[in-house]
Amino acid sequence: MSLRSNKRTVDLQVITDWVTDGARVLDLGCGRGVLLQELAQQKKTQGIGVDLDIDKIGACVRRGLAAYQGDMMSFMAEFDDNHFGHVICSRTLEEVDSPATVIAEALRVGRSLTVGFANYGYWKNRLDALLRGRKPRNDVFNTTWGESRPANPLTIADFEDFCASHGYTIARRVHLRGDWKTPATRLPNLRAGYALYEITR
């Protein structure tokens, strides 16, 4: 199993553990529907994925999942408060135009928001920037500048500050080391490569 799919497995398992059986789940930036399928199988969820890419929507449709191609903000606007049990942004927030707006809307339509992101404050990223003066490139950020997608990277410290200043409650958190498997409990902003949070209003 490649490092990448190993990472995916832990990430998926943590999120899956946090989701309530039979819940309504909204996956923003659902990609090919791997997580939604896992949730449908393990937790009997009623899920819907949103993505901009038609090929990804096609892949979800092939798996029998519900998927919606389009803008996540206008999609969420169609739903009442608390329509979903969980909204999930797994490696999505780094790529949206206005993360604070997306988070606020996700917490309106959902009772909780699960966020997963690569930690920009990871020590290897700091070293890359400090010593080499380059965009970090390591086991957490593994693409060159030219092949990277538009990103608005964040750190564990950024995210926790953000939650505190907006009054969001951090219900759960998991910090993983650079292998995205082993828990990083001490000094997570320095030592964790990957972070998962569940927040509520």
Binding site: I54, V61, A67, Y68, Q69, G70, D80
Partner: protein, 397 residues
């Protein structure tokens, strides 16, 4: 809302995977049929075609629903001299997205139509004359109810899927509402659950062109006669709404026709000639194309059918009774996929999306995909590997 106008069909270069020569069949019901409006006719006929084989359990059938001016002939050819195959030949056939090796694909001409199915041009048994405008007002739901009777009669116990674009998409939606247990999958494209004022307005212009043609004669025109001018104008106008600015520009631009009638041949552009008879002869290719479309249409379509079917389109609004589309779709149990096209300005993406969001609010399994095209409303008919993959995946899932 359109029938396809595929390019001339060349049998010599036809891909393997054509359904080949097909023969339309007629289903006739001798049971009375009561329309939504309350009126009853003693029976009806639907003309249909089938491709592929129905399995023993009768469960591998896919119903294709046609658009406004379409018909039952959606795949294959009727004879070796046919220039064009059926209107959705590109998607139906062995190995194609609607794979006739796996599925039993069928399509009928709708109730109210004019190409073999009972409609205003059919003979009213009570008078021995064509129904004309005495035909009962037909609705999308009536069309679907008639299809249900036909499918049940030919041994289809369950539909694997129902597929259609434009008015066909409205029928797909209505099937899900009227007969929720009959199909496992609903696939609607370039459609709407309720026409906008603009779409109704275009249909009204078409109807007025027909109604104000003196040859319409209050609907009592003889067979082969009727409001040919009005019907052609209706068709020309409607055809514009199926295309897009970009696609017309690419296809025609401002190119002028190469050959002008001899008497109108002038070195100057049309409109500058002093002879008023020729000032408005065909100048641009797009004019020639539209005139051809109009002419071709009057030879195969009944003006009264056009009036009835556009009325059915305009009146379709399943949300009206319940107050919201979300409540209306509560009955649907089938998985649904709706496909919108970015350049469709007749039934634009947001109207397609609205069906899916209503289904999702109601807790249904529904998906929405949007194809980036510049071909306008007719995009659903055109060759697109991306669309084929999507359809194939949905049917296989």
């Amino acid at each position: 809302m359109n029938d396809a106008e595929p390019d001339a069909f060349d049998l010599a270069t036809a891909e393997p995977g054509e359904v080949g020569i097909v023969r339309p069949q007629d289903y006739t019901s001798a049971e009375p049929f009561t329309f939504e409006c309350g009126r009853t006719i003693p029976g009806f006929t639907l003309r249909y075609e089938t491709y592929g084989r129905l399995n023993a359990a009768g469960t591998n059938a896919i119903l294709v629903c046609h658009a406004l001016s379409g018909d039952h002939h959606c795949a294959g050819i009727h004879g070796l001299t046919d220039r064009k195959p059926g209107w959705w030949n590109n998607i139906i056939g062995p190995g194609k997205a609607l794979d006739t090796n796996r599925y039993f694909v069928t399509c009928c001409n709708v109730l109210g139509g004019c190409q073999g199915s009972t409609g205003p041009s059919s003979t009213d048994p009570a008078t021995g004359q064509p129904y004309g405008v005495n035909f009962p007002i037909v609705t999308i739901r009536d069309m679907v109810r008639a299809q249900h009777r036909w499918l049940t009669a030919i041994g289809v116990t369950h539909l694997h899927a129902i597929v259609g674009g434009s008015m066909g998409g409205m029928q797909v939606l209505e099937w899900g509402l009227s007969f929720p247990d009959f199909a496992s999958r609903l696939l609607a494209m370039a459609t709407t659950a309720r026409e906008s004022a603009q779409a109704i307005a275009f249909n009204e212009v078409g109807r007025q062109a027909i109604l104000q043609d003196p040859d319409w004669a209050q609907g009592n025109y003889p067979a082969g006669g009727g409001p040919r001018v009005g019907l052609a104008i209706a068709r020309m106008m409607a055809h514009i709404t199926y295309l897009s600015d970009a696609s017309m520009d690419r296809k025609f631009g401002r190119r002028t026709v190469a050959e002008r009638p001899p008497s109108a041949t002038q070195p100057t552009a049309a409109g500058t000639t002093s002879d008023p008879d020729h000032a408005f002869d065909v100048t641009f290719e797009v004019e020639s194309y539209l005139r051809y479309q109009g002419k071709a249409f009057i030879n195969r379509f009944d003006a009264n059918s056009y009036l009835y079917i556009t009325r059915a389109l305009d009146q379709y609004d399943p949300a009206a009774a319940t107050g919201s589309l979300e409540k209306a779709v509560a009955a649907i149990t089938a998985r649904t996929l709706v496909v919108g096209f970015t350049s469709d300005w007749l039934f634009p993406p947001e109207q397609n999306r609205a069906i899916v969001t209503a289904l999702l609010r109601a807790g249904k399994n529904a998906s929405y995909a949007e194809l980036e095209t510049d071909l306008g409303h007719d995009s659903f008919l055109l060759e697109s590997p991306q669309l084929y993959d999507l359809v194939r995946d949905f049917l296989a899932s």
